[in-house]
Amino acid sequence: MNSFRIARAALRARPAALKAPLQRRGYAEAVSDKIKLSLALPHQSVYKSADVVQVNIPAVSGEMGILAHHVPSIEQLKPGLVEVIEESGGSKSFFLSGGFAIVQPNSELSINAVEGYPLEDFSAEAVRAQIAEAQKIASGSGSEQDIAEAKIELEVLESLQTVLK
């Protein structure tokens, strides 16, 4: 019974408590919790300091999600999927061929890659055909460089195949 009374008192007290912090709001608290994302390819900029909520990147050191106020860092990217969660709540996925992601101190994120396309632009058949081709070269008797190139291709294609499923 006693706890009921306390709960009711808390309910009544809440409107005043809610208003108070709003009135005290200053610049420091009004900092946005968005990251400014720039996703640039040599021939196109996909995002140009656009406000987004979160970006998931396939770094060589592991998959990571980047939110606002992330610690500044430079990450090398594996060929893989970059997922951008936008302000509206929707998300967009791009397959990048590998590059770098740079987190700057003021919640800015720059991603640079050579090629990057939305997932729906890829053809699963082309990927399958190329995997067969690359496997033949990788296990063949070509030069060391040809085999190394085929293995790079396999790495990209296998990553592409898993995200296309």
């Binding site: 040599p42 021939h43 060929p79 397959f95 061929s97 590998g98 590059g99 050579v114 090629e115 990057g116 396309y117 632009d121 890829f122 053809s123 082309a126 990927v127 190329q130 690359a134 030069s143 060391e144 460089q145 085999i147 190394a148 190139e149 293995k151 790079i152 291709e153 790495e155 990209v156 294609l157 592409l160």
Partner: protein, 76 residues
């Protein structure tokens, strides 16, 4: 972690270009045709000695030759 392509003498630039090439080839037909034009590279260079132009060579061939050399050095 050492990369396999590094051991074969490939540079990071070459690694990126191979990865980009395979991404372009995996696109759907219409996009692929536009994108593949970006992958073309045809540069030539020649060394000038005593005011005379030397033999002009293809940059791509010279690059792959030097990478093959780097690969054989690291493996031996």
């Amino acid at each position: 972690m050492p990369f396999a392509w590094k051991a074969a003498g490939l540079t990071y630039n070459k690694y990126l270009s191979v990865a980009a090439r395979v991404v372009r080839r995996s696109l759907k037909e219409d996009k692929r045709l536009i994108a593949e034009r970006r992958g073309e590279m045809d540069l030539k260079f020649s060394k000038w000695n005593n005011g005379k132009q030397g033999e002009s060579k293809s940059l791509a061939e010279a690059n792959s030759a030097s990478m093959a050399e780097a690969g054989s050095q690291s493996s031996s």
